[in-house]
């Protein structure tokens, strides 16, 4: 897809995340850290409830990119996990092309919860044409 600086994309990637969504991701990914599915364990550790794997949010955010650019366009994709994602959260993934050089687009990527707080932020590069 031809990309140019300033191109933007925004997509709701999950609405009202449930514990079942998180458990399903645990099973698929193999990450069975009880902090993500065992409410008793999570509370004993000092958290108000279980919370989503960072990689779940990163994967949901990637869906916005592949829905936009296709499954083979990405050259790189990286994020920092800035805030936890909790059951009940609705996430909107956002992207903006910040540079196009030598046929490669650099895309700023971030995802916000329903309060507009950033939960992951990072960058992707993709084939620009």
């Amino acid at each position: 897809m031809p990309l140019k600086v300033g191109d933007k994309r925004e997509q709701v990637v999950i609405e009202n995340m449930t514990r079942t969504h998180i458990v399903k991701y645990a099973g698929a990914s193999g990450d069975f850290n009880p902090i993500h599915h065992d409410e008793v364990f999570a509370k004993q550790a000092g958290y108000p409830s279980v919370f989503a794997h960072g990689m779940f949010t990163m994967g949901l955010t990637a869906r916005m990119l592949t829905d936009w650019l296709g499954p083979l366009a990405l050259k790189s994709y990286g994020v920092r996990f800035t805030r936890q994602v909790w059951p009940g959260d609705t996430l909107t993934a956002k992207a903006e092309v910040v540079e196009v050089k030598d046929g490669i687009a650099t895309i700023r990527v971030w995802t916000e919860n329903q309060n507009g707080e950033v939960v992951v932020e990072g960058q992707a590069t993709a084939v620009a044409d």
Binding site: V13, I14, H21, K24, Y25, G27, A28, S29, G30, D31, F32, N33, P34, I35, F41, A42, Q44, A45, G46, Y47, P48, H53, G54, M55, F56, M58, G59, L60, A62, R63, L65, T66, D67, P71, L72, L74, K75, S76, Y77, G78, V79, R80, F81, Q84, G122
Partner: protein, 160 residues
Amino acid sequence: MADSYQFPVDRTQVMLFARALLDIRPEYWDPDDPATKAIGGIVTPPTFVISSAHWDPDYPLDLTRPRKEPRQPRQEGEGRGGNVARILHAEQHFEYHHPIRVGDVLTVTSRPGKTWEKQGRRGGRLLFTETITEFRNQDGVLCVTARSVGVQTEKAVEQS
């Protein structure tokens, strides 16, 4: 972590992983769809290699996995690097060099990266550790390089 292990890329695992990410695009599960045929067969979502955890013999976050050799006794929640309730994922980066296909057998090789320390605003003293993991297919072609940064916190990260 094991220095190296094999990760066979199975169609069912790709389908389950895509479903968990609420992704219904046919290129992740339907070999007969025209979109899949157009790209030469099923491919994998950008974060799929993380599910190599299922094949990592020393993966620390699967405490109930049945094992031939009993693990060293440790408390519930104690993982490879300490208490799993105090280790959070800080960053994850992927570089994509070559597509991964169903039927590939990937060799997964990990090495430690940098470590550093920082005073955290929300979780006390923070210890960061980096791991670099390479995924090569059966032809020796490097498909994905992953860089993971974990952070060990002194206490639960305060909610704000």
